[in-house]
Structures are given as structure tokens and as C-alpha cells.
């Protein structure tokens, strides 16, 4: 979960906690994902115990997170909203379980808020449904005057952004990489050249969000790059759809509400990497991924021993939590074998106990792991960035399903040629 989203979520939860909104209520979370786990963690630290996590994925149901059961959303039919609207139950108010049963609230921290809210309403739930973080400005199930006005102004702002880009790059093919995830950027860039070759595209302008994405693009050479903030990116994407902008591609497998290619996974398998090759760019199986060539040499400021070091990368923003003690056990094993173990950190991330912290610029990361000799990382975009490194590479997957699909994350996000560890509680 990105820091800005986490702060937004915590601010809202704090407001609710302070106002004692959760007291004597059954609290449900909807959608088992990293953000929901973070929300559950935060509530638990305040001794607020969610009743259950709803998830539509049958594969996730009957499992649990920190002893919170993951169940089908249909279970909400046993609950109501505010007890005060249930006058027939007033006589039972002394019964705490019944009070909670008839006084519930649902908290949603995924980008599918509108869809989930609509689903709960269809199931007859009349209680409060709270969006604890706003991920998605594309969806709002309303035709009210205010909503229409807001969305009209939003698409107009996007049109102005598009016009500004076209002033600067009138004939370039605009490649929009809307999501600021390193892995998405990496594979979009890997297959972009084959896409350009297929369509005889010479000049490309790449539109991205954030500096880290720029660093990934620069690994692939010099390009014309425009960096937007998240809000402007969403407005631009909306304008491209609305104006039917030609000479342009929105290169993502799961970002657009208007595109349905991710639904293919409901019944058929296609890996994350192949999504870019086939579904996003429409290339055939012979299309070759371009390898980045602009990696920098490793400056080794902290003097890690060559060939006898392990770099561990335990942090990812969108992966559900690994079992406690997992990384410590890994570290202990390698230290016991005589390796020097380092935790790759950014910002305030703490190193794993028993390791030294190591900050490596993204451009040096491939050379750093090759120098160290081994890399062990949770599945994240960093794994994609260093996937061509010539060293021992081990990727760690939580044992869970990808989104609402029947496929495990280790299947969807598979990295050919890597050793793999799948963890479960």
C-alpha cells in the first residue's frame, strides 16, 4: 500500500476511532488484499477486532487473516445497519451479540469500492459502507447533477493535459503507463519496442507517474518522458478514452474500467509478463522482450564482500503479509552458512534483524546483486527490474490467490529462471 494511501486511510480511521463509531458494532472489511490487511492491522492495534473480511474469491473464503475469518459477502445478509432502525429488536438491546448483529459497518480499502458497495446493496444490506481510501476516480455509480458536473470538469482537465502534450509532441505516439508500479513499467518498456516495430512507430512520448518509474524507463535508454501526478494521470487517461485519441496507447493490463482484458483470467491463464506481450500490445509469441542496457556499475560504498553476500528485499507495496519470523529465519540460515546478509531498504524501512541495511540506487541494483552473488526478495517490481541479473535469484511468494482469479500469485507473477519459495502461515 502506498504511503499516501496509508496516511489517508489512517486519518479516516483515526477520526472514526475518536468518534467511537466502531463501538459495539460488527465491523466488516471487504476485499482481502494488502490494503485490507493494513487496515485490519491498524484496527487491531487499537483493540478493534473486525468480525470478518468479505471476499468474492471462493479460493480465499474459509481462510483467515490474523484470526479474522475471510467469508463470502453474502454473509452480510445476516446483518443490518443501525440498530435504531430495527425497532423490533429494541427489547434485545442488552444482548451484546445481537446488538452487534444489528449494528454493523463495512469498511472498504480497495479500488473496487463502487462495485463492492453496489453488491452489498443488492444483497439488501442497509448499513454504513465506508470508503477509507479513494483509489479510483473513474467509477461512481450516480447520475446526480453534482457527480456529472465533477466528472465533466475532470474530463475537461484531462483534455487540457492531452492538448498540452500534443503541443509539445504533435506526431509522437503517446505511450501512457498509468500505474506507478515498477514491474508494470518494466514489462511495458520491455515489449514497447516490438510494438513500435510492428506498427512502424518511430517517435514515442512516454507518460508516467513518479520519479521511480522514470528510473526504470531510463534503464531502457533515452526517451521523451512526461511525469504527471496521480490525479493528472487519471484525468489524462479519461480524456484519451473520451476523445478517442489516436496515435496513443494506454499500456496496462488492469487499469482501465473500459478495458476487460483482465477478465480473461477468470477462465484462462495468462501470466503477468504475457499480458504485456499479448493482451496489452497485441504481439505474437515470437515477439522479443527488449533487455535494458543502461544499468550503472555498483559503487559498493559499504564494501559488501563479493560473491559471499546475500541481498534480501522484504518490502513490497501490494503483497499480503508474510508469516512473522520468515525473513529472520532466512537470514539466520545464510549467516550460518557464512554469508553476509544485507537488507535492501528505501526511506524509513528498517533492516531485517541480523542484517545490515543497504541502499542501492535502482540503476545499480542489477550490478549489486551480481556482485553480492545472491538475491532473495518478496515478489515486487524490483524482481522484474533485476530479472536479467546473472546470479542466484530467489523470489518469495505468499501462498494466496491473485485478486479474484483462480490463480495463485506465484503462477501469475512467475519469473522464469528464478528459484521460488512459497510461504504460508
Amino acid at each position: 500500500m502506498e504511503l499516501r494511501h496509508k496516511e489517508e486511510m489512517i486519518n479516516l480511521l483515526d477520526t472514526y476511532i475518536e468518534a467511537r463509531i466502531f463501538d459495539n458494532r460488527a465491523i466488516f472489511l471487504f476485499g482481502h488484499c494488502n490494503a485490507t490487511e493494513e487496515m485490519a492491522d491498524y484496527l487491531l492495534t487499537h483493540e478493534i477486532i473486525p468480525t470478518a473480511i468479505f471476499d468474492n474469491n471462493i479460493s480465499k473464503q474459509k481462510t483467515n487473516y490474523r484470526e479474522i475469518p475471510i467469508i463470502a459477502p453474502e454473509s452480510i445478509q445476516n446483518y443490518h445497519g443501525n440498530v435504531h432502525s430495527q425497532h423490533s429488536l429494541n427489547m434485545h438491546l442488552h444482548n451484546d451479540s445481537l446488538l452487534r448483529k444489528n449494528n454493523s459497518i463495512v469498511l472498504i480499502a480497495t479500488r473496487f469500492f463502487s462495485e463492492m458497495k453496489a453488491q452489498l446493496r443488492r444483497l439488501g444490506y442497509d448499513g454504513e459502507i465506508i470508503q477509507v481510501v479513494e483509489y479510483n476516480s473513474f467509477t461512481e455509480y450516480s447520475l446526480s447533477g453534482k457527480t456529472l458536473l465533477d466528472k465533466k470538469e475532470r474530463v475537461l482537465r484531462g483534455t487540457q493535459i492531452l492538448e498540452q502534450i500534443r503541443i509539445k509532441y504533435p506526431v509522437h505516439h503517446i505511450v501512457v503507463l498509468p500505474h506507478d508500479a515498477l514491474g508494470d513499467i518494466y514489462w511495458a518498456m520491455s515489449y514497447m519496442q516490438a510494438y513500435c516495430d510492428k506498427h512502424l512507430i518511430n517517435d514515442v512520448c512516454i507518460v508516467i507517474v513518479g520519479k521511480r518509474c522514470r528510473q526504470v524507463i531510463e534503464l531502457f535508454g533515452e526517451h521523451s518522458i512526461i511525469v504527471l501526478d496521480h490525479k493528472a494521470m487519471n484525468e489524462l487517461v479519461q480524456a484519451i478514452i473520451f476523445t478517442c485519441e489516436e496515435n496513443c496507447i494506454i499500456a496496462h493490463h488492469d487499469y482501465l474500467y473500459t478495458d476487460l482484458i483482465i477478465q480473461y483470467l477468470n477462465k484462462h491463464f495468462l501470466s503477468f509478463i504475457d499480458y504485456y506481450r499479448y493482451a496489452v500490445y497485441g504481439l505474437n509469441k515470437d515477439a522479443r522482450a527488449t533487455e535494458p542496457t543502461n544499468f550503472a556499475p555498483f559503487d559498493n560504498k559499504v564494501q559488501i564482500p563479493k560473491g559471499k553476500s546475500v541481498i534480501v528485499s522484504p518490502y513490497a507495496k501490494s503483497v499480503v503479509e508474510l508469516p512473522s519470523g520468515f525473513w529472520e529465519n532466512i537470514v539466520e540460515t545464510y549467516v550460518h552458512q557464512g554469508y553476509h546478509v544485507y537488507t535492501n531498504v528505501a526511506g524509513n524501512e528498517p533492516p531485517i534483524y541480523g542484517t545490515k541495511q543497504l541502499y542501492v540506487p535502482l540503476a545499480q541494483m542489477k550490478a549489486a546483486v551480481e556482485y553480492a552473488g545472491a538475491f532473495i526478495g518478496i515478489r515486487s517490481g524490483l524482481c522484474d527490474v533485476i530479472c536479467t541479473a546473472n546470479c542466484r535469484k530467489i523470489v518469495v511468494f505468499p501462498d494466496c490467490y491473485y485478486s479474484t482469479t483462480p490463480y495463485k500469485v506465484d503462477e501469475f507473477f512467475a519469473l522464469p529462471g528464478w528459484e521460488k519459495i512459497i510461504t504460508s502461515e
Binding site: S114, E115, A118, Q119, R122, S137, F138, T139, E140, Y141, S142, L143, T147, L148, K151, K152, R154, V155, L156, Q238, I240, I241, F242, T243, C244, E245, I249, I250, L256, Y257, T258, D259, L260, I261, Q263, Y264, N266, K267, H268, L270, Y278, A279, V280, Y281, G282, L283, N284, K285
Partner: protein, 114 residues
């Protein structure tokens, strides 16, 4: 644009589409055979639910409204390439999905039928 938005909204309201469970837009950029198979599959899946199939200019007007934002989850857009940017044709042209799979597993496959 404001006038158009009001016109598009009026189509939704005048046809009482909020009272429907599913609304299928048939768009004539797709071929006749595709649209026929889509309608048949839609009718087979929808069962006794309230449904309507919209064709012609009204379908394109509702599509335009949908390209400003997702204002409903009841709308099914019967196209491989619309709204602008939809990439289902890629799956077809790469040979990893058939047209029937695209209709049944993707266009209709993402719809909650309960």
C-alpha cells in the same frame, strides 16, 4: 459538452434504465454475426432478470456517457474495441482466445449474474 451530457443522461432516465438489472449495448462497428451471438449469449445468461438491449444512436450516446466515468455497473458494452482503448481484439488476433470465449468469458464473464 454539457448539452450532450444532459442528452445522454436523459436517455438513461427516459428509458427507466435504473430499473433494469442488465443493459446490453449493441454497437454496429462489430459485425452482424458477432452481435447475434452476443445477444443470444446475453439472453441465455440473463434468465428472468430485467434486461434490455439497446442499439443504434442511443447505444452510442450511452457509450459516450460511460467514457466520462463508470456511472453504473449494469451496462454491458458489446464490443471488442469500444470504448476507445479496449484491447480484446489483441487476444483474438494473437490466437489465445476465440470470439466465443471473448463473448462468454470476458464481455459477459465479468458480469455478476446474481
Amino acid at each position: 459538452m454539457e448539452l450532450q451530457i444532459e442528452q445522454w443522461k436523459a436517455i438513461w432516465q427516459d428509458n427507466s434504465l435504473d430499473d433494469m438489472d442488465y443493459i446490453l449495448l449493441i454497437l454496429h462497428n462489430e459485425n452482424h454475426d458477432f452481435n447475434n451471438r452476443l445477444c443470444m449469449a446475453f439472453n441465455a445468461k440473463v434468465g428472468n432478470k430485467r434486461k434490455v438491449i439497446i442499439e443504434g444512436q442511443e447505444a452510442y450516446d450511452l457509450l459516450a456517457l460511460y467514457t466520462i466515468y463508470a456511472f453504473t455497473d449494469k451496462l454491458i458494452i458489446g464490443s471488442l474495441s469500444l470504448p476507445h482503448g479496449r484491447k480484446l481484439n489483441n487476444l483474438l488476433q494473437c490466437g489465445i482466445a476465440t470470439e466465443d470465449e471473448l463473448i462468454n468469458d470476458i464481455i459477459l464473464g465479468g458480469v455478476k449474474w446474481n
